[in-house]
Assembly symmetry: C2
Homo-oligomer: 271 residues x 2
């Protein structure tokens, strides 16, 4: 009678088991907090005032692993806003991901990352970049971010209709990630990428366009459920925007998505 | 003995002749000022202080058709900076092109265009966008920009090494431009695109990465001369950055590039 060890039945490693696959300190810390807080939920807080951002961060903070910002749509940004946001991140233990989608040549992207009024590198644990300009953007951003232990996600796919991040574009993006593992910690994508070669679990995948209740918006956004994203498509982090921050009770809704995301992860580990 | 009319020898229309091909008021005004000021030079002013930006804008203003900004690398941005820049634009008669490279989904890009601390739509005649997220970005930006008569350039190609804006990516970008001619006035590209179907001169092409003296930088940027860009590749506007703003005498250098660009245009008309 066979008595297989439970662990060998797992097709996927746990978040905790994957910590050892990363050298980047932000990637390691993120996986650790996901496991300890039992959350793979990122909330995208696309609000227009600092008060709303800080309120959502405070009430949803206990439920999330990552708070995703668009700092450049805050109509009343001041440097004190990110100081307060960092305090909330430390208090509730979440990472800050500025969804800047850097997309210029390396020299310019570097300046946009470290300079300007936002000084993103000083407060954002994670940022992301498009690869359309070529690998020089990773080199440029790395010059500003790596010495501070920051992590970079590459946009390999997008959830919007008619996206051109498909096929060879996605493949070349994966190649750029593999060539820059010190700084590139993973992808923004619709699914797990970079399968094969034993490398499939050594990147972190974050998937936007997640909603339990609606299918899309009028400007091309298309939504999926946490179960589809985490269990079927093998992603690691669900990014939920309007589904949470526009809800009447964002904290309750965040907890609803946290449970949905975590259940999908548990199901994926056992499948 | 043949005496052909001079005009029929022109393979390319003049900037002035192309005004009638556009409905967008920014495109029309740009072509008119290029002809009247005899300049197809855009200067990219990638400096980090407002004082430098305004100084360069003032001394180079008489030589240029377009001033290209990266407002988000100004370490001391205040709303008064763009007020002053607009006054210089009206005084010297040039257009302001904020090189934001919008690259998000439509709903987010629209907010980045009209909101935040920069309120780009209120002062930039022209902005640009990547098409990687799909056509929703044009719809989103158009909702903010079209009613103010602004113009959008699409990034169809990039001058940096290993760019993924090639082949089908470029072709799909051209299709998106053709489907949105009211707001899309042209491209940022290495060369004239969208040839054939009689539509080749009804977009404005702006080409970055122009330098008379050096070949590239350490982060993947690759340079071409004005003659290659305008005469050989059929572009309309040369974008010169470090070659001018880092020169000891930016005004003299701007005039040198203006002459080189205009001579290339004159040669192209006669070839």
């Amino acid at each position: 009678k066979k008595t297989p060890q439970k662990k060998t039945l797992y097709k996927r490693k746990t978040y905790a088991e994957r910590v050892a696959l990363f050298k980047n300190p932000t990637a390691r810390a993120l996986l650790e907090l996901m496991e300890s807080k039992r959350t793979n939920l990122s909330i995208a807080v696309d609000v227009r005032t600092a008060a709303e951002l800080l309120k959502i961060a405070d009430v949803c903070g206990p439920h999330i692993c990552v708070l995703k910002t668009h700092i450049d749509i805050l109509d009343d940004f001041k440097p004190s806003v990110v100081d307060k946001l960092r305090k909330l991140a430390e208090h509730h233990k979440f990472m800050i991901f500025e969804d800047r989608k850097f997309a210029d040549i390396g020299n310019t992207s570097k300046q946009q990352y470290e300079g300007g009024v936002y000084r993103i590198v000083t407060w954002a644990d994670v940022v992301n970049a498009h690869t359309v300009s070529g690998p020089g953007i990773i080199a440029g951003l790395s010059e500003a971010g790596l010495r501070q232990g920051r992590g970079l996600l590459l946009l390999a796919e997008m959830s919007s209709a008619g996206s051109l991040a498909v096929g060879e574009y996605t493949e070349k993006t994966i190649e750029m990630a593999r060539a820059n593992r010190d700084f590139v910690i993973g992808f923004v994508s619709a699914r797990k990428l970079a399968t094969g070669e034993g490398s499939d679990e050594s990147f972190i995948y974050m998937t936007p366009g997640v909603n339990l209740d609606v299918a899309g918006d009028a400007l091309g956004q298309q939504y999926n459920t946490p179960d589809i994203v985490i269990r079927e498509r093998g992603s690691d982090v669900i990014i939920v925007g309007r589904g949470i921050y526009q809800a009447a009770d964002p904290a309750a809704e965040a907890e609803r998505y946290r449970i949905a995301g975590w259940n999908a992860y548990q199901a994926a580990l056992l499948s």
